[in-house]
């Protein structure tokens, strides 16, 4: 693929953006005096700011490029990752879990586990989370470097060092507040950078109806009904009838319940944004405010992939020697990751192309900054202060936080090079993270809503859930895959129609195991006195006072609006 040439104006847009993000870091540096300012931004954010940051921190490379790729691969059914796989969990954390996260005054999610359960449960969560953040930001950096090299012919090394350096500059200077402010800026940049792409794309194909008509032949060529790419639920009855290769039960339970609640309700990367809010009511509104743009994001990130597919712009994947790859049936294998970038270079002239590419860079950087700020907090509070050097003055932890930011970024860059040299290692690591994450929501749900759950129960349950995930994955294989990192390493007992189906069912098994084992071990071990659990468990904690002044600020009202809108979207695209 020939590299695209940029004009001076495209570079001006990028330089302006870089200047503003670093400028925000410089401007906020003065307000960072204590470790609380640095790690929690002094808990001073209004709800709309923490809400947009909540959304943006999760809006990394995987979202813009990955969801575009999935749009081209699976069609509008990719929206299940939003309407089923995100919104219900975001509503749940706002209404039911935020009172404990924010109200317990824990400074991080692992610290909540320490308060609720014990030290060992915190340690497992803190260490796995810290490792995960470094590797996810490394994978994100690697993806960005590779894309810029392929698209623009830029040097991989320079791209990741410059992007890493800018993220380091603004998070080092202004801490979480700077990351959050930049996430809000990045949010608007991503929306305003991609909106014209969708507008021009839809205009070109003759609107939604035109897109449906263009995707019909693609759908039938792949052996599905003509409208299988443009309807989200109609073909979910059987896994073989839809491009996703999943049936509704696995989708709703695996993605909609286990994976979605496990991520949105327990991942410190997003929870940290809500913890930075300026009041309990603002913290509870944070995920709800984020949910409104979140439910509309399919139109911004999935549609470009579908449009690229409809326009025949998705290039073939090249194998060794630069020849296009073919699958077992002789069909061309498409490089779906290039769907959105190809639409960008095809539809945008000089100027807007700079804006689109800057929006892409912004998504990489907001995701990376999210990981880095979550990493430095968990490292400093949950690992360093807990096990290495407790009882030091606050200034010491502030300095350690800044130092952790530097080595967090350095480790991410290192991880990007690891990803570049050993692709399978990254696949393997992501697999291990999936095993560690899948059971987490069972631990939190039992911890928050069942006062009888004990520390030993939580710990043994987590370990058992992780082992169960590995065993289930090791005994199953997606159709057409070879034994190895895709599964089957303990012998193939069952096969799934797709990799996603296998992922969803692995999560269901892990969650159920953790849930059952935690209950059994808890019943066999001594409970903590109820008095010690006040503020941490539902039923023995006063209901949070609602300090909202207007009806539309009340979390319950917002939640109903969010759910009604999501339901409407599902019906429209049924």
């Amino acid at each position: 693929m020939p590299a695209t040439t940029l004009h001076w104006i495209d570079y001006v847009v990028m330089v302006l953006y870089f200047a503003f993000v670093v400028g925000i870091g410089v401007a906020l540096k003065r307000s960072v005096r204590t470790s609380n300012d640095f790690f929690l931004s002094g808990r001073a954010m209004p709800a709309w700011v923490s809400g947009l940051a909540f959304l943006s921190a999760n809006l990394g490379a995987q979202e813009v490029i990955g969801m575009g790729a999935s749009g081209a691969k699976y069609g509008i059914a990719t929206s299940h990752f939003y309407w089923v796989g995100a919104i219900p969990a975001m509503v749940f954390i706002a209404l039911f879990m935020m009172p404990f996260y924010y109200g317990s005054r824990a400074r991080s999610v692992p610290e909540y586990l320490k308060l609720r359960f014990d030290e060992k449960t915190r340690a497992v969560n803190a260490i796995s989370f810290a490792t995960m953040t470094v590797f996810s930001s490394g994978i994100s950096l690697y993806a960005m470097g590779k894309l810029l090299h392929l698209l623009l012919g830029w040097s991989f090394d320079v791209s990741i060092l410059v992007a890493g350096g800018i993220v380091l500059a603004y998070t080092f200077l202004g801490g979480l507040a700077s990351a959050i402010y930049n996430e809000v800026l990045q949010f608007f940049l991503i929306v305003l950078g991609f909106a014209p792409l969708v507008w021009l794309g839809l205009r070109e194909v003759g609107g939604w109806a035109g897109l449906v008509a263009r995707l019909a032949p693609v759908s039938t060529a792949n052996g599905f009904a003509p409208d299988a790419y443009t309807r989200s639920w109609a073909y979910m009855g059987q896994a073989s009838h839809n491009p996703v290769g999943v049936e509704w039960f696995g989708l709703v339970m695996g993605l909609g319940f286990v994976l979605s609640f496990g991520y949105w309700c327990t991942d410190f990367l997003v929870v940290q944004r809500a913890m930075a809010a300026n009041s309990m009511s603002a913290a509870r509104r944070t995920p709800l405010i984020a949910a409104i743009p979140k439910m509309l994001f399919p139109f911004l990130v999935i549609l470009p992939g579908m449009l690229a597919l409809g326009q025949g712009l998705v290039p073939a994947k090249l194998g060794l020697g630069g020849l296009p790859l073919h699958d077992l049936h002789g069909h061309l294998v498409l490089d779906y990751d290039l769907a959105t970038p190809m639409l960008l270079v095809h539809f945008f002239p000089a100027g807007l192309l700079g804006l689109g590419l800057t929006a892409l860079l912004a998504s990489f950087m907001s995701g990376m900054a999210g990981n880095v700020t979550a990493f430095n907090t968990v490292w400093t509070y949950d690992i360093y202060q807990s096990y290495v050097r407790p009882g030091a003055p606050d200034g010491h932890y502030l300095a350690m936080g800044r130092f952790a930011t530097v080595f967090g970024v350095a480790l991410s860059v290192l991880a990007a090079y690891v990803a570049a040299s050993f692709n399978n290692i990254m696949d393997f690591l992501q697999l291990v993270f999936a095993f560690v994450n899948a059971p987490l929501f069972a631990t939190f749900a039992l911890g928050m809503f069942w006062k009888r759950a004990t520390g030993h129960g939580a710990f043994v349950g987590l370990v058992a859930g992780t082992v169960a995930a590995a065993v289930h994955h090791g005994l199953t294989l997606p159709a057409g895959a070879v034994v190895g990192v895709k599964g089957g390493y303990f012998g193939v007992v069952a096969t799934f129609p797709s990799e996603l189906a296998q992922t969803f069912w692995t999560a269901i098994v892990a969650w159920t195991t953790c849930f059952v084992v935690t209950i059994l071990v808890s019943l066999a071990t001594a409970p903590r006195p109820a008095e010690e659990l006040r503020g941490l468990v539902y039923g023995i904690t006063e209901r949070p006072e609602d300090d909202s002044t207007r009806w539309y600020q009340r979390p319950a009202v917002l939640a109903v609006i969010v759910l009604a809108l999501t339901l409407t979207l599902n019906v429209i695209f049924f």
Binding site: F20, A27, A44, V49, A177, L192, L200, F348
Partner: protein
């Protein structure tokens, strides 16, 4: 006392808006500037400018309510 986040956002998008609208006007009709038939640089420049101006207006209004230099935004939002 902290910077109002709408100030840098408003400033960035206003500058980008003016830049795009001017560039779009200056390159109007040149080959390669309208791959889809829409003079998108000019049109989107105006959209960005309008958004930037709105952000600056909101920040200014909030500063007026709470006294300069303003907090992170309206406490009730």
């Amino acid at each position: 006392m902290r910077l109002d986040v709408r100030l840098p956002i408003g400033a960035l998008f206003s500058v980008l808006g003016v830049l795009f609208a001017a560039y779009g006007a200056a390159t109007w009709g040149r080959p390669g500037t309208t791959p889809t038939g829409v003079p998108i640089d000019f049109v989107w420049g105006l959209v960005l400018l309008a958004f930037g101006a709105l952000m600056l207006f909101l920040a200014r209004r909030a500063a007026g309510h709470h006294g300069p230099p303003g907090g992170g935004g309206p406490p009730s939002a």
